[in-house]
Assembly symmetry: C2
Homo-oligomer: 339 residues x 2
DNA sequence: ACCGCGATTGACAACGTTGTCAAAAAATGA
DNA sequence: TCATTTTTTGACAACGTTGTCAATCGCGGT
C-alpha cells in the first residue's frame, strides 16, 4: 500500500506537506498542492485508517451486534437504517451476530473493544428486554428493538401499543364490532403492548372487548414456534356469530388466515376483513388481495439508533432514554367497511 | 483504554514482557506470567487492533459489499454464512451496501482500502453478472451470487440449472406431463439457467416441452417489478387441458399460484401440484399446505466465499474460479403423484 | 540593504504494538 | 569456583499518521 512517505518522495516534498494536502488542512501553496495532488492520484494513495486512529483521532467504526434469529428476515432493515445514518458521516459498521449465545456475545464485546469502535448498537430481532452485561464498555451503547430492564441505556423501540391501537381503531371505524384476534406468543413484549393498544381502541369506541375472540396463532417456545393460525382461524370463523374482521399479530399469520377463510368459502375483503402487522412486503404485497397492515419501522429504528449514538452525551437526556418509533398503517385491499 | 505500557508499569516489568504474555509468545517465567496476568485481568486490558495492524500483521477485517435490494430478504443469509466462516478464524466483517449506485460503490472501495481489509466479498442480491471495476485493489475479491463476465474472479453462485432440473424432474417422476411454468423476469441469469435445466429434465424423461405453458409471473423492469402470477395462473388453469402441476420461479410466485388455484376451486395438492424456488421459510412454511420447493443456498454461498478468500492464492486454481453450489429439494406437502 | 511579517514548509515526537537483538539472570558442568 | 549454556528479560526501532513548533521563504516597507 502506498504511504505518505512514498508520495512525499515522489513529489519531492516532506511527509507533512502531503499530509496537509490529503486533509486539505492549513494553507498550502497552490502550486505545490496541485503537484502533489497529481502524485496522490497516480499512486492511488489512500490514508491508512489504523494509523490515523492510533494517532488519536476518533474512531469511525461502529459496532452492530445482533442476536440474529433468521426467522424475521426484515429485521435486517435495522442494519440498513443504521448504515444509511452512518453513511452521512463517513462512518462504517462492523457487524457480528451473537446467535443468542452469551459466550459468543462476550467474545464480540472483546472484539469491538479491540477495534476501538466508537459505539455499539445492540439490535434484537424481537422487541424484547435485554441487559447488556458490559459495564466495562466505556463507549455509548444503544439498544435497537429492545430495552434494558433497568432503563439505563438509550433504546429505540417500535411503538407496539400504538400499533395495536391502530389496527383495532381502523376496523372499529369501519363499523366492525365482532373482531377476531390471532396473536403471537404471549411472552413477547409486543404481544402485551399491542393487546393493550387494542383494548384502548375498543374502550374509546365504546365497544366491549370479547376475550373469547382472541386466540393464539403460534404455539411452542420462542425459537421453535409452529403456526396454528390456519386451524384456530377456521375455528373462530365457524362459530355461530362469526367475526367480520380479524387482527393478526403478523403478516405471516395473516397469510394463514387468508387460507383458512378460503377453505370456508369466505372471500377477503367482502366476507372478512383482515389486518396484519409488520408489513413484510414479501408477504403483504403478494397476498391476493394485498394486505392492509401496520408497518414495523425497522429501518427507522436502525437510523435513529445511530443518530442517538452520534449525538454528544449531553443531549442524550432522560427523555430520550426510550424512544418509541410509530408503527404506521399501510392501507391496501384486505379490509372493507361493514355495510 | 488500557495500554501495554500501563499494565507494564503496574506489574513492574517491561512492555515487551507483557506483550509476550498477551500473545503467549516465547518462554516467560511462570511466576512472572501469573503476576502479569493478574494485572491484565484487573485492568481489563484488550490489545489495540489498529496498533497491531499497523505493526504489519495481517488484517483480520474483511469487507462485504452488497448491492442491497430489500426485496429479497433472505439473501442476508449470505452475510450470516460469511460471518460463520469468519468466526472460526477470529476475523470480522465490515459491511456496507452500495444501493446499486456506482458512485457509492467507488466510495466503499476507498473505504475498504482505507481499513486495509484482508479481502472483500461482493454479494449480489440476485444471481447476475457483475464486473467489479477495481483493478487497483490488490487483495482478494470473491463474488457471491454473481460472476464476472470475463470470469477473472472467483465466484460462488447457486446452481440454478440444477435447480430447474430438480423442479422439473421431481414432477415428471411423479407422473406429471402437462406442467405449467410461472417464471421470473427473463433478463435474470437464474431464469435462463433454470429453463435450461427444466428442458434437460424433460428431454431425459422423453416428454415434449410445451412452450405454451411457460408464462411470466412478473412484469416490469428489475427493481420495479409487479406480480401478475395470480392472473396468468388463472389463465393457464382455465384452459381446456389444464396443467396438473406448476413450477414457480419463486416461493412468492407460488403464493399467488395458491390463491389463483383457490379462486378456481382447485385444491393443492389434490387438484394441482405446486413447486417453488428459494425456500423463503417465511412463505414456504406458512403456506397451507406447506410448499415443496428448491432451496437457494445463500448461507452456503456466503460461507464458501469467505473460505475461498482465506485460502492462499495458490490453491485458488482455475477449477475454483466459478463454484456452483447445489440447490436442494425441500420436500413438503404441495405436490402429489398423479394417480 | 535590512527588518519584520505572513505564508509556506519541514523535523520531530507520539500513538500502541511487536520483531530484533543484546543484556541480565539462572542453571549447568567441570 | 568459574566458564558455559540456557532461560528470561528489556531497549530500541519501526509501522503510517498528525500535532507542535521551529525554520525557511518571499515580499513590502524603511
Amino acid at each position: 500500500m502506498v504511504t505518505l512517505k512514498q508520495v512525499a518522495a515522489r513529489a519531492g516534498v516532506s511527509i507533512k506537506t502531503v499530509s496537509r494536502i490529503v486533509n486539505d488542512d492549513a494553507a498550502v501553496n497552490a502550486k505545490t498542492r496541485e503537484q502533489v495532488q497529481r502524485h496522490l492520484q497516480s499512486l492511488n494513495y489512500i490514508p491508512n485508517n489504523a494509523a490515523r486512529q492510533m494517532r488519536g483521532g476518533a474512531s469511525t467504526i461502529f459496532g452492530l451486534m445482533t442476536d440474529a434469529v433468521a426467522t424475521t428476515p426484515y429485521s435486517v432493515d435495522i442494519v440498513r437504517g443504521a448504515q444509511a445514518a452512518l453513511r452521512e458521516n463517513q462512518q462504517t459498521l462492523l457487524i457480528a451476530s451473537s446467535d443468542g449465545e452469551p459466550d459468543r456475545e462476550a467474545e464480540l464485546w472483546r472484539m469491538f473493544r479491540a477495534h476501538r469502535v466508537a459505539g455499539v448498537v445492540y439490535a434484537a430481532m424481537f422487541h424484547r428486554s435485554h441487559d447488556v452485561g458490559q459495564p466495562a464498555f466505556d463507549k455509548s451503547i444503544v439498544l435497537a428493538n429492545c430495552f434494558a430492564s433497568y432503563n439505563d441505556r438509550p433504546s429505540i423501540i417500535p411503538d407496539d401499543e400504538m400499533g395495536g391501537y391502530t389496527q383495532a381503531k381502523y376496523l372499529l371505524q369501519r363499523g366492525h364490532r365482532r373482531i377476531g384476534i390471532v396473536t403471537l406468543i404471549p411472552e413477547l413484549e409486543a404481544t402485551r403492548l399491542r393487546g393493550q393498544g387494542m383494548r384502548r381502541a375498543f374502550a374509546e369506541a365504546g365497544v366491549a372487548f370479547d376475550d373469547a375472540l382472541e386466540v393464539r396463532g403460534v404455539h411452542g417456545a420462542l425459537g421453535s414456534e409452529f403456526l396454528v393460525a390456519y386451524d384456530v382461524t377456521r375455528e373462530i370463523l365457524s362459530r355461530p356469530n362469526r367475526p367480520t374482521a380479524i387482527i393478526c399479530g403478523t403478516d405471516q399469520l395473516a397469510m394463514q388466515v387468508y387460507f383458512a377463510a378460503g377453505s370456508l368459502g369466505l372471500t377477503i375483503p367482502d366476507d372478512l376483513s383482515v389486518i396484519g402487522f409488520d408489513d413484510l412486503r414479501l408477504i403483504s404485497e403478494t397476498l391476493y388481495p394485498q394486505l392492509t397492515t401496520v408497518a414495523l419501522p425497522y429501518y427507522e429504528i436502525g437510523r435513529r439508533a445511530v443518530e442517538v449514538m452520534n449525538r454528544p452525551e449531553a443531549e442524550t437526556s432522560l427523555s430520550l432514554q426510550k424512544q418509541l418509533v410509530p408503527c404506521l398503517l399501510i392501507e391496501r385491499n384486505s379490509c372493507k367497511p361493514l355495510a
